[in-house]
């Protein structure tokens, strides 16, 4: 279709004042979008992708400053239009947005119906009946049965997935030309995620609507978008058709990102990863923003900002390297250890028919309900094994973890550790056998204690060494997990998420336990940091002879590091077997659904479609 693109953005910049400093959240972002096209904006935390979408919708915080050379939607100049006019004629009408947190994005005091129907301004061409009919039609279209009845319900009566569907229906009431979706499925379970994305794609085709999908998940973006834009530290580092960018990535960051996605490894080989962490941009860097972490960095990179180059037609990237001249930009993992630990036949932890039921009492005089959290679970973990426990939210995996740690008594069955029931082992002894690592690096450390104090607390509690000896042990442990010694007296608030997780791991291993129970240890971390932590866990297994129970919902992680898999659903273990068996030929229908819902970056297909560079070698081990 000839004519101007629907959305034109040139040199969009967003600055935020933070205290006395200014944060350059978005810098010189330029892209276009045709009618009906789908653009995926990908980046990790701190990349500026959310800020970009908020900037388009005029939803930036009041103190933020938005500047651009061109910012145009259709015939509307978004820079010139004033806020009131924008709200009146564009927001929710020609361009709409859905957000990440469906649980809190709907007004709790109005019904669903009221919130959907108020999208249309009073005095618009439609009659009230028309509006209501359209609302019901949309609700049914998005898969909510009994739409007319639902109109009277309040948001808190709906689940997260349903609320997100309502948001979509709401935003489509006026058939906008452009829909921006900011991480719409991140907060939802994997199975729900797949269906919501499918819905978005269908609706997009039906309405001929352009879509901008912001996500950190490359798998999601690779399956359904036309174009992709990769952002790093506020800049657009690579854009182009999806197959080109992901099949033949040019920018070192994109390459590193793709390579560090967890996937099958041979014999415990390590994941390639991008060293370092995403910077916070308080001052405009001289030179390339990725230079400090780039393996291919050259002197000019640190001095001047690289120009935008074109690899092929629309495939653009900002780097000095010429197209296809460079290979993987990663730290090469050391070759897999020849004598990687093989699981020995000794059983470390054994759970037999464990059951746990909660009684929920909503008030002083309310009736008690019982909730079965764990139902007849039997699981053995041998020395040197990495057993992955896979389940979605509500599957009971966290409760099971607490039971296995000995922190909660099961109502039925027993848990034996090294032959003795874990409940009867005195706390200090138990602490030396099994330790936890949790998901949230922000709440697993006491904010009032220094790193040194947190790591050393187990030793202090067990009172075995003098304070000077303790300090030495703590320092050695810090080295082991890859924390610089100078952080000893720092507080958690001064560390990044990845560093905090290392502290949590250090605290867990300092008593030299045999088994670590890790509850989603990398889910809250960026993909590049995730790879680092997984590598660390594998290293520690080899060096200290640790075994793991790894609880996760991420099958890619499982694929990468686990030896055996147990799948948990509604409190029961529905499948248990070696990793290869379970992943290649799952027995239970739930496992099959789970495997089917996972969106992966399909490298071979992308490469086949990539418009150029046929000779690029495969990134090791990315074949699925």
């Amino acid at each position: 279709m000839a004519g101007r693109p629907l959305l034109e953005v040139r040199n969009l910049c967003v600055t935020l004042p933070v205290g006395a400093r200014k944060l350059h959240a978005v810098r010189n972002v330029t892209f276009t979008l045709e009618r009906g096209e789908a653009l995926g904006v990908v980046g990790e935390s701190g990349s500026g992708k959310s800020m970009t979408s908020l900037a388009l919708m005029n939803l930036l915080p009041r103190s933020a400053v938005r500047e651009a050379d061109v910012l145009r939607l259709g015939e509307h100049d978004l820079l010139a239009i004033d806020k009131q006019e924008f709200s009146r004629s564009l927001a929710g009408k020609r361009m709409a947005m859905i957000f990440q947190e469906p649980m809190t994005s709907l007004n709790p005091v109005y019904t669903i119906g009221q919130q959907i129907m108020e999208m249309t301004l009073p005095g618009a061409a439609r009659s009230a009946k028309d509006i209501r009919d359209r609302a019901i039609y949309l609700l049914e279209r998005i898969g909510i049965p009994d739409a007319a009845g639902r109109l009277k319900q309040y948001p808190h009566e709906l689940s997260g997935g349903l609320r997100q569907r309502v948001m979509i229906a709401m935003m489509l009431m006026n058939e906008p030309d452009l829909l921006i979706a900011d991480e719409p499925t991140t907060a939802l379970d994997v199975t729900v995620q797949a269906s919501i994305l499918k819905l978005l794609m269908e609706l997009r085709k039906e309405l001929g609507m352009a879509l901008i999908l912001v996500s950190h998940d490359l798998g999601v973006v690779s399956q359904s978008m036309d174009k992709i834009a990769v952002m790093y530290a506020g800049e657009l580092v690579e854009t182009g058709p999806v197959s080109d960018v992901l099949g033949a990535p040019q920018h070192p960051y994109t390459q590193g990102l793709l390579a560090s996605i967890p996937a099958a490894r041979d014999g415990g080989a390590r994941l390639p990863s991008i060293p370092g962490t995403v910077p916070a941009l308080f001052s405009l860097p001289e030179g390339c923003v990725f230079a400090p972490r780039c393996i291919h960095v050259q002197p000019p990179c640190r001095v001047t900002r690289p120009p935008v180059q074109s690899a092929h037609n629309d495939h653009l990237y900002r780097c000095v390297m010429t197209p296809d001249s460079h290979r993987l930009a990663l730290s090469h993992p050391p070759a897999a250890r020849a004598n990687a630990s093989r699981p020995s036949p000794d059983t470390l932890l054994s759970a037999r028919h464990v059951g746990c039921t909660f009684t929920i009492r909503t008030g002083l005089l309310a009736k008690a309900r019982s909730l079965v959290a764990v139902d007849d679970v039997s699981l053995d973990i041998g020395e040197g094994e990495i057993v992955a426990l896979v389940g979605e939210s509500g599957s009971g995996k966290s409760t099971l973890a607490r039971i296995l740690l000995g922190l909660q008594a099961p109502d039925k069955g027993e848990v034996l550790i090294a032959g003795t029931p874990v409940q009867s082992v005195p706390p200090f002894e138990r602490a030396k056998l099994v330790q936890p690592v949790f998901q949230d690096p922000y709440s697993s450390l006491n904010p009032r204690k220094t790193i040194g104090q947190s790591i050393g607390r187990p030793l202090e509690l067990h009172g075995q060494d003098s304070s000077a000896e303790r300090e030495k042990i703590v320092e050695r442990t810090m080295e082991l997990v890859g924390l610089p010694k100078r952080l000893f007296n720092n507080y958690p608030s001064q560390l990044s998420g990845g560093q905090r997780q290392r502290v949590a791991i250090a605290r867990a291993i300092i008593l030299k336990p045999k088994l670590l129970i890790c509850d989603e240890p990398t889910s809250a971390l960026d993909v590049s940091v995730q790879a680092q932590i997984l590598n660390l866990l594998l290293d520690l297994r080899d060096e200290l002879g640790l075994s793991y129970l790894l609880i996760t919902h991420d099958l890619a992680v499982v694929d990468c590091v686990a030896t055996r898999i147990a799948v948990m659903h509604r409190g029961r273990i529905v499948e248990l077997g070696s990793k290869d068996d379970v992943l290649s030929s799952p027995g239970h229908p739930y496992t099959r659904t789970l495997l089917g819902s996972v969106l992966k970056v399909d490298m071979p297909a992308l490469k086949a479609r990539a418009g150029h560079a046929p000779g690029l070698p495969d990134h090791a081990g990315l074949l699925r």
């Binding site: 060293p275 962490t277 972490r293 922000y442 924390l483 720092n490 507080y491 070698p617």
Partner: protein, 308 residues
């Protein structure tokens, strides 16, 4: 394979996850933050002055506050016609120097303010932590006690108890303290509940800490900043409560100089000699204002610091 000519240099060092950019600053200097907060500085300054006056009262005040001098009674402050420079702020109805009585009044107010706030702190924080940490039946019992305490008309009961038991500084402190712990409890309980579910508490249990150890070493340090804020505000509340009691005649009794009592004594001639009422009121106002400024200032600092 030789094309895969990758550099190892970054691998070894940088796998450590050390920060390559934006080195984290040392622990933010609390003192610098305080200096930048004008309200807090003002509050601390006023409080400081009053504390010094009270502590050094015998040396600072020109006269003994109990010395009566009837021929010199009801002199106005020196700036009003009829005033005498010997008595800067005039004298009261018994000829006692007003300035001295005001300075000694600071002792009473500060003592009662801090004393009552401390008692309330002890009761409220203990109950709040237990309720928040243990939950279940203990929480229900404590919540019930709290509801009952809130329902009691505080001022009325305080008046009755102080008057009936016998008005003295000690009794006033105890009665006010025992009636003003609800704020501590509510905040401590809510904060403890939030912390109790955090993962570092589970980690502490996993390494073998006992419940008491967890409460004292893990949870309590995280409550300090909130407790201090409430403490400052409660000092103000206690001072106002004592002033009201003394004003109504059921608190501190003469001849002790309490600011509230002085206002009551001056009330009879409020139209002719308004300074008898205005001056002590200004002092009460300053003390409570200072306490509130400190409390609010600390609360501002805390919320700024907690923003990661």
């Amino acid at each position: 394979m030789s094309e895969m000519d990758l550099s190892f240099k970054a691998a070894a060092a940088s796998e450590t996850g050390g920060e390559l950019l934006d080195a984290a600053p040392a622990r933010p200097k609390i003192w610098r933050n305080i200096l930048h907060h004008p309200g807090l500085m003002l509050g601390l300054a006023i409080l400081g002055i009053l504390v010094i006056l009270a502590a050094f009262a015998p040396w600072v005040s020109p006269y003994n506050p109990y010395d009566q001098n009837l021929p010199q009674r009801l002199l106005p402050p020196f700036w009003v016609h009829g005033g005498d420079a010997a008595h800067l702020l005039g004298t009261d109805h018994l000829g006692r120097d007003y300035l001295s009585r005001l300075i000694y009044g600071a002792r009473v107010s500060l003592l009662i303010g801090f004393g009552a706030a401390s008692i309330g702190c002890l009761i409220g924080v203990t109950l709040g932590m237990c309720a928040g940490f243990f939950g279940g039946i203990i929480d229900r019992i404590v919540s019930f006690i709290l509801t009952c305490q809130l329902a009691l008309p505080g001022l009325l009961l305080a008046m009755a108890l102080v008057f009936l038991i016998g008005p003295s500084v000690g009794v006033v402190i105890c009665v006010i303290g025992f009636l003003h712990w609800s704020y501590y409890l509510v905040v401590t309980r809510a904060a403890t509940q939030k912390i109790r579910d955090l993962e570092y508490i589970t980690a502490a249990r996993a390494i073998g800490s006992s419940r008491l150890q967890i409460m004292v070493t893990e949870i309590l340090p995280n409550l300090f900043s909130e407790i201090i804020v409430i403490f400052s505000l409660e000092v103000g509340v206690a001072v106002l409560a004592e002033a009201a009691l003394s004003f109504l005649g059921v608190g501190i009794q003469p001849p002790t100089s309490s600011w509230g009592l002085m206002i009551a004594e001056g009330k009879v001639s409020v139209f002719l000699r308004p300074w008898l009422v205005i001056l002590p009121g200004i002092f009460i106002f300053l003390l409570v204002l200072a306490a509130n400024l400190v409390g609010d200032g600390l609360r501002d600092l805390m919320s700024n610091e907690s923003r990661r």
